[in-house]
Each structure stands twice: as structure tokens, then as C-alpha cells.
């Protein structure tokens, strides 16, 4: 029996776990004393390792490379040599016939780790010759990165999870910590216990609203109006820090010009909130000497998300709540390594360390380091633009690593139709997901627990995770698979271990240069920037109020409010907003294969609906119902709860039967290309024959599981 120190593979709280391993099997997980979790874990940390034993509860592990030689044909199990030959030859052919930009690749914000993401973007840029690489940051905090890079210079949390509890006021905007990050919710509770004021802006009465001093139940789709009103009060009532604004910011006059009309009275009708409540919240935020803003998908998954984040960062700038401990702006990242995938340049416009593709000097530096003549200069495709580019005949091949767009992306019917049109779909994963089932080639990889590497947690913290067990299938580590394909395509790539990749990456990124494996072993947690050997990391950004912008000043800016794209009407009278399930993660391929977590919550999931709406629609609590939009129709179970506001319904996004992304709208933020998951018009209707509906769910669920199981065991 041994204990192996690792980092939780679920949300990005960065919790350290000791896995208890006996005879190459994990038998328990214990909380280890990490900087963010202090020995505590949530249910996913304690019970989220069972999938490593290939329980086949939901869908089986991938254990052999598989090729489907004809679209729609049968999978055939092949040797690694044959799989690598096939992939390399097909990619080379597509590149030759259609150009490098006809190929799209993804990093993975989940298990693989930073080293693999670095290598995947190197493969995309140096071997394929395209910037068409992206990761699922696009569908979550992409807008936070885009907006904060413009206003402050860095796209990450400016502060630390650990010092949240020492702030005097937390403004929680569109962020349900209890369901998304229980270990961050714990810090919010501790802040409250230490006397902090808590303000919650959310249409739902979320857990944090219970302990809040003020709860602002704004109408779905009114974020920008509320933020502008906050800014208006801060300026009009002179609650801002004049000295700070004069010394460290620019753009005040432009900001004022936009927000001057957004008086609390003006936005009453848009937000559904009283002017008095809005004023009270702005005064509360401005009255303390240290305040922190936290936001989540309730801010980012909108057609107007980057603008709202610019507004939130302007609130912090106006009040001088940056550049010190226990203050700042916190976009709390959702997936364990979504920060890391962005750090490593698995995005279409950035090299590792946020060095710009558009900068010729940066391109020359990477070209020299990677031993290629030149690197592509046009910005790449985002994952949300993929279906459109396929339908426009611009993309022919898609190499997906560790993501399941046929579950997690909006408008699944549209996505399915697009993927069908591809010439080549390569899926590198650990499970037979719905996306893997549609692939032409499946490359089975090792899972978290079966390889080592570095993850970046939500607050820029690099942490090393160890390998706990030997994999049982004929699988390879992600970076080995990429190296083999690259070498086969004529670009020799050889690494002995993850550390060698990490060290190559460090030498190319000033932001991470000092974050060595040795230093991580010593301190356990290194927050970037960490530029030199002597540097021990940066718990909070912008020390001395110097922002990472050309003139060092923070940019005050926001925008006019734009209403949501799809408005409700008589036919589709309710707003659908997609939310999180505490016991499941992402597409559920991991948590759905863990018995305790699967037992706690299973198909078809729930639609949360207000009692008044339920009564009008003759819907009983726990009964099965239809939810229908212009794009699809699914069955789910009603959870009649007063915590959901009237006129809106809420569904979690990882179910196969109650798949809310069959219903969501593919409407993108113009800057970050993030979809508006939070606002689709739907109708909900009762099902008379409940017995039939229950059976129908069982039938569909059984059929899907059976189908994936058969596909995974092709010979």
C-alpha cells in the first residue's frame, strides 16, 4: 500500500489529494494539505477516482487504437504503428490538398496537463503549420481572458483563492461557487465568518445568497445594465478613489460618457431591481478598504460577455481594489487545467506565456527554437467557429484531444451535422464519448492517475501531479502520441519525460521561466509570474499598481447594454439557462463512471422551475417533462423550487437524455466567440403518460450505453 500525491482532476480549485494505492488499484482518496484546500475535499475529490478501475457504468475506457476506414463504417482495432501511420498520412494528404488551415486541433483543459498542451500547440504550429488550435476555455472563461488582457494585461485571477477569506467585501456576480467550486465556496464562508460583506448578483437564490448581506436577483440577460449602474453610482456619488484613478488608470472620461445614462432608476426596468438596492450594493462594495469581485459562467456565457467583464474590472480599478493582497478580480476557472491550457498557448492567437502570434518577433523566436523556417501568422479558428467553417468547406480535419463537443457545445444537432461533413475526425481520449463514437480514428490515452505533469489551478498556481498506477490498456501518454505523429510527419520529436517538455517551454516563456519541477517539489505551489530562479511566484498581480499594458495603466471601459439574442415569445415563453451539477464534471465521462457520484445524480437530470410556472403548466415536482426550443426537444425531470426565478428554467449540461445543449443557441460573443448558453427561449410541457416517459428514458439510456460499449470493443 502506498500514498501518491496528486491534484484533483475536476474543478480548478487546485485541491491536493493523496491517492491510496494497493496492488495497482486506487482504493481511497484523502485530502492532502494543499495551499488552496487545506486538507479538505468535496465529493468529487473524495469519490471521483473510481473511473480509473474502468467500471463501465456509463461508457468504457478506450483500450486499443481504432480506425474506421469508411465514414459510418465499423471500427477496427489496429496496432499503434498502423494508427500513427494512418493519422500521419491522412493529415499530410489533407494539408497538401487543402492547406494547413484546413486542419483544426484542440488542447485539453482536463487530464493531460500542461506539457501535453504545450506539445499539441507546437505540433499545430510547427508541424501542421496552422494556428487552428483552441481549447474549451472558449466555452467558459475565454471572455475573461480576452477582456482582462485588454483592461489589466493578464487574463487570469488577479488574486489568490487562499486570500479570499481576508477580503472585507465579496461581490459574487453570476457565480455559483457551492456547485462549481465547493472548496472556493468554503473560502467565501470563511470570509463571511471573519466579517466580510457578501453581495450576490444572480437571478437564482444560490447557496451564497443565503449568507449574503445583499441579494440582487437581476433579470436574466441584464448583466451589462447592472454593471453600468454600479459604475454610474460609483462615479456620480464620488465613491471612487480619485487618486488611484488619476495615477494608475486611463479612460475615465470615456467610461463616464457611457455610464452616465445608466442611473439606477434608468436600469430598474431592464434589471427588475429597485434603484435603492443597486445603490446600496454599490455603496457596500465601495465602503470597505478591500473588496474582491468573483464571477463565473453567469457572466461569461453570454453574447455580451467581454463587455461585462471590462465593466467589472473597471469597478475594481475605480475603487483601487487591485495590486494588493485580498482584493482584485477573480474569474474562477471551471476545469482543472483550463488555466493551464491557456497558459500553454492552446488558443488561436497566443503562443505559450500569452506571447502574441501577431508579433513577428515572437514568431521568429519560436521558429528558431522549434527549428522551422517560419510559423503561420494568421490567427487560428476558435472551437466555436468550427461547425461554421466545416459547413463553409474551410475545415477538412479535426483532431480533438480530451474534449467532447457533441455533449458540451451549443446546438448539438448543428454540431453533429457539421462533424459528419469532415474528411477526418481524430479523437484522442480516455473514454468512448459521444464524440469519440463519431470519430474516424481513436487514439487511446492515459488518464489522470496514469501519468505525471503540471496543472495550473484557477489562481495561476502551478502544481505537480504524480502518476499513481500503471495503465492496463494498450494506451499511450498524450504527449507521446503527439510526438509519434509529428516524427512520422517528418518533424522529429523525442522527449524522455514530461519534465523535459516543461523545461523546453520554460526557456521560451519569461512568465514561467523560474517555475521548475524542483521548485514545485519544494513549495508545492508556484503562482505565475515566476520569471527567475530566485523568484518564488506571485500571489497577487499588479504590485505597485503597474498593469501589464504598454503604458502600465489600467483601462477603464465598458459598453452599452445589448439585450439577449433570442427573446422569449408566446411559443417559447421561458428562458433556459444552463448551470452546474455539484457531483458531475464536464461531459461526465469521468464522474459518470464513478459509482458513488453516478448514484447521487443520474439521467435524465433536472430542470429547475419556479412553483408558479410549474403550477401554470400543471407540472408536479419530480415528474418527467418535455423541454423544447427551436433547435430540439428533450425529456427531463422537474425540480420545482422557489430558488429558480419565475420565467426562467435551469438545466445542468452533462446529461445524455436531458441534454440541454440540444436546446441551446449558437450565438457567439463577437470578441471571445463564447456562446450564449445562458439565454435560450424554450417551452416546458407536462407529460401525461409518466410510465411511458420513464420507460423511454430507460430505453434511450440503455441503448446509448450499449452502443458505446459495442463500439469500444470492436475487433
Amino acid at each position: 500500500m502506498k500514498k501518491v500525491l496528486t491534484v484533483c482532476p475536476y474543478c480548478a480549485s487546485g485541491c491536493k489529494i493523496n491517492l491510496v494505492v494497493n496492488d495497482n488499484k486506487i482504493i481511497a482518496a484523502e485530502g492532502a494539505n494543499g495551499l488552496t484546500n487545506q486538507g479538505e475535499l468535496c465529493l468529487k475529490g473524495y469519490y471521483g477516482w473510481d473511473f480509473l478501475n474502468d467500471t463501465k457504468i456509463l461508457t468504457p475506457r478506450l483500450t486499443e487504437p481504432l480506425i474506421r476506414r469508411q465514414r459510418g463504417g465499423e471500427f477496427e482495432a489496429v496496432s499503434w504503428d498502423e494508427a500513427i501511420d494512418y493519422v500521419s498520412q491522412r493529415l499530410a494528404q489533407i494539408k497538401q490538398n487543402h492547406g494547413a488551415d484546413a486542419i483544426m486541433l484542440t488542447g485539453s483543459s482536463r487530464g493531460p496537463g500542461n506539457e501535453t498542451n504545450y506539445l499539441m500547440q507546437k505540433f499545430a504550429r510547427a508541424v501542421i503549420g496552422t494556428n487552428n488550435i483552441d481549447c474549451c476555455a472558449r466555452v467558459c472563461h475565454g471572455p475573461s481572458v480576452a477582456a482582462l488582457q485588454q483592461t489589466l494585461g493578464n487574463g487570469a485571477m488577479s488574486n489568490s483563492i487562499a486570500d479570499l477569506e481576508d477580503t472585507e467585501c465579496i461581490l459574487v456576480f453570476g457565480y455559483n461557487a457551492a456547485d462549481s467550486h465547493p472548496i472556493v465556496a468554503r473560502r467565501i464562508l470563511k470570509a463571511k465568518q471573519k466579517g466580510a460583506k457578501i453581495i450576490v448578483c444572480d437571478p437564482r437564490f444560490i447557496e451564497t445568497a443565503r449568507i449574503a448581506d445583499l441579494w440582487l436577483p437581476l433579470k436574466n440577460g441584464s448583466n451589462m445594465a447592472l454593471v453600468n449602474a454600479f459604475l454610474n453610482v460609483l462615479i456620480t456619488d464620488k465613491l471612487y478613489n480619485q487618486h488611484y484613478v488619476d495615477s494608475y488608470t486611463e479612460g475615465f472620461a470615456d467610461l463616464n460618457a457611457i455610464v452616465s445614462k445608466y442611473t439606477p432608476e434608468y436600469v430598474e426596468a431592464i434589471t427588475g431591481l429597485s434603484a435603492k438596492l443597486i445603490r446600496e450594493a454599490a455603496y457596500m462594495y465601495a465602503s470597505v478598504s478591500s473588496a474582491t469581485i468573483l464571477w463565473g459562467m453567469g457572466v461569461t456565457q453570454w453574447g455580451q460577455s467581454t463587455d461585462v467583464i471590462k465593466g467589472l474590472s473597471s469597478m475594481a480599478l475605480l475603487t483601487g481594489n487591485l495590486g494588493r493582497p485580498a482584493v482584485g478580480v477573480g474569474p474562477v476557472r471551471g476545469q482543472n487545467n483550463v488555466q493551464g491550457a491557456c497558459d500553454m498557448g492552446a488558443t488561436p492567437k497566443d503562443y505559450p506565456g500569452y506571447q502574441k502570434v501577431a508579433d513577428p518577433k515572437v514568431r521568429a523566436k519560436f521558429a528558431k527554437a522549434w527549428g522551422v523556417e517560419s510559423l503561420p501568422e494568421t490567427a487560428g479558428c476558435t472551437i466555436t467557429e468550427v461547425p461554421h467553417r466545416i459547413l463553409a468547406d474551410q475545415l477538412k480535419a479535426y483532431y480533438i484531444m480530451g474534449e467532447d463537443p457533441l455533449q458540451t457545445d451549443p446546438d448539438l444537432a448543428g454540431m453533429r451535422a457539421a462533424l459528419e461533413k469532415l474528411d477526418l475526425l481524430i479523437v484522442q481520449d480516455i473514454f468512448m464519448t459521444k464524440t469519440a463514437a463519431a470519430a474516424d480514428v481513436i487514439l487511446p490515452a492515459t488518464s489522470w492517475g496514469e501519468h505525471e505533469g503540471i496543472y495550473t489551478s484557477a489562481d495561476r498556481g502551478f502544481q505537480h501531479f504524480e502518476k499513481a498506477i500503471e495503465p492496463t490498456g494498450n494506451v499511450k501518454v498524450d504527449w507521446q502520441i503527439i510526438s509519434l505523429i509529428a516524427s512520422k510527419m517528418g518533424y522529429p520529436m523525442h522527449y524522455h519525460n514530461a519534465q523535459q517538455i516543461w523545461d523546453e517551454m520554460r526557456q521560451l516563456c519569461d512568465l514561467f521561466k523560474g517555475a521548475t519541477y524542483a521548485k514545485m517539489a519544494k513549495f508545492g505551489y508556484i503562482q505565475w509570474p515566476c520569471p527567475t530562479d530566485e523568484h518564488n511566484g506571485t500571489p497577487y498581480l499588479y504590485q505597485g499598481n503597474r498593469f501589464d499594458r504598454p503604458n502600465g495603466k489600467g483601462l477603464l471601459t465598458c459598453a452599452e447594454w445589448i439585450p439577449p439574442k433570442e427573446t422569449i415569445d408566446d411559443q417559447y415563453p421561458l428562458v433556459l439557462c444552463t448551470v452546474r451539477e455539484v457531483g458531475h464534471y464536464s461531459c461526465r465521462s469521468m464522474t459518470g463512471n464513478c459509482r458513488p457520484l453516478q448514484t447521487l445524480a443520474d439521467e435524465p437530470g433536472y430542470v429547475q422551475i419556479n412553483p408558479a410556472d410549474a403550477q401554470q403548466l400543471h407540472i408536479q415536482d419530480q415528474s418527467l417533462v418535455w423541454v423544447e426550443s427551436r433547435r430540439g426537444k428533450v425529456i427531463t425531470r422537474a425540480n420545482v423550487t422557489p430558488r429558480a426565478n419565475k420565467g426562467a428554467v435551469y438545466m445542468t449540461y452533462q446529461w445524455w437524455i436531458g441534454a440541454c445543449n440540444e436546446l441551446t443557441l449558437d450565438h457567439l460573443d463577437p470578441v471571445s466567440r463564447t456562446p450564449e448558453y445562458k439565454h435560450s427561449a424554450v417551452r416546458v410541457s407536462a407529460i401525461t403518460d409518466q410510465h411511458w416517459a420513464e420507460q423511454e428514458i430507460d430505453r434511450q439510456y440503455h441503448q446509448l450505453k450499449q452502443q458505446l460499449r459495442e463500439l469500444a470493443h470492436a475487433v
Partner: protein
């Protein structure tokens, strides 16, 4: 003697249900639990303004034990426990418990001893036993990430009472001082 019991602090609960899984796992033979066997002995309840685990109070004059016709609920290890072999599944305890902390469940046996239809299932009265078979103590208390659950022991109850008495006395003193100074 006074029983020990699990107390929940609703102000600290975030509704994550880690305690429910820990409870089930603590009473399961291995990780292979199923929905049918998912019978947590405490239950997280979410209302409009409250979220809290509802737990067994381990009552001193316990209605569950008093109402049990077969004497299946007994005092053991500072709490009330069920001797499952005596339980006939009559559900009287469920009706008697004012807190909803008693459940009676019938589940299919994983490996039935005979083919006789009435031996295919087992009926059990389920209640909190403070995980008394485990050296680490109650699993729910151990795992709660926000420390919303704690084991209240007789001596901590005595301490609690003394603290409250002190506070009452101080409040009395403050009131009196205010009264005299206003004279």
C-alpha cells in the same frame, strides 16, 4: 447517560452532499454501491432560505426505540442502533420519529441464499449509528469541506451549557449597569 449526536450548522452548509455519499460509503462493503443501496442516514434538505443536513438527534427518550415492537433499536456505544436481525419492517419507528431520521428500506439481496421469493429481499431499519464501527468516527463529520457537521459529545454539551450561562450572566450584568447608569 447522555447520547452523542451529529449536529449541523445550516450557516456553513453549501449543500454539496459530500456527507450523504460518505455516510453511504461508510456503511457499504465496497465502492460498488447502487441507487437502491444509496440510503444516507442524513439528508441534505434545500428550501428557499435554508440548506442543511437533517440528522438523527439520538434522543434520550427515543420514540423510535420505545415504539419498536421487537426491541430492535437499542442503546449501544453512546447512541441508538438497530439490531437488524430483530427488525420486522413494520415502519412504526418511521411514524414515531418526529425528525424524519428513520427509514425502513427493502432492497434486493445481491446473493440470495435461496430461490424462495420472500428470501430475495432484505428489509432494514436505517438510522445513524455514528459510524461506531469505524475508528475515525462519523464519516460525515470527517469529510464535510466546510465543517458544517460536528459530533456533539456529553462533555461538549456541558461546556455549551456553561458557556450560555456565562453569556446570560454577562448580559444580565450589562442590563443592570445600563439601568443603574440611567438612574
Amino acid at each position: 447517560m447522555t447520547h452523542c449526536f451529529i449536529a449541523a450548522d445550516a450557516n456553513k452548509c453549501i449543500g454539496c452532499r459530500t456527507c450523504e455519499i460518505a455516510c453511504v460509503m461508510s456503511h457499504a462493503d465496497d465502492i460498488n454501491i447502487s441507487t437502491q443501496h444509496f440510503q444516507p442516514r442524513l439528508k441534505v434538505i434545500k428550501g428557499m432560505t435554508i440548506t442543511t443536513p437533517v440528522t438523527c438527534k439520538q434522543c434520550e427518550n427515543a420514540p423510535c426505540a420505545q415504539s419498536c415492537p421487537t426491541g430492535a433499536i437499542v442503546q449501544k456505544n453512546n447512541c441508538l442502533q438497530v439490531i437488524q436481525s430483530r427488525c420486522i419492517g413494520c415502519k412504526t419507528c418511521v411514524l414515531a420519529c418526529p425528525f424524519g431520521a428513520m427509514t425502513v428500506v427493502t432492497t434486493p439481496l445481491d446473493a440470495p441464499e435461496t430461490t424462495s421469493p420472500n428470501k430475495q429481499y432484505q428489509t432494514q431499519a436505517i438510522k445513524c449509528d455514528l459510524c461506531s464501527d469505524h475508528a475515525q468516527g462519523p464519516a460525515c463529520v470527517t469529510v464535510c469541506p466546510t465543517q458544517a457537521l460536528r459530533l456533539v459529545e456529553p462533555r461538549s454539551l456541558t461546556q455549551l451549557i456553561q458557556d450560555k450561562q456565562q453569556r446570560t450572566a454577562h448580559e444580565l450584568l450589562t442590563t443592570l449597569t445600563r439601568y443603574h447608569s440611567s438612574e
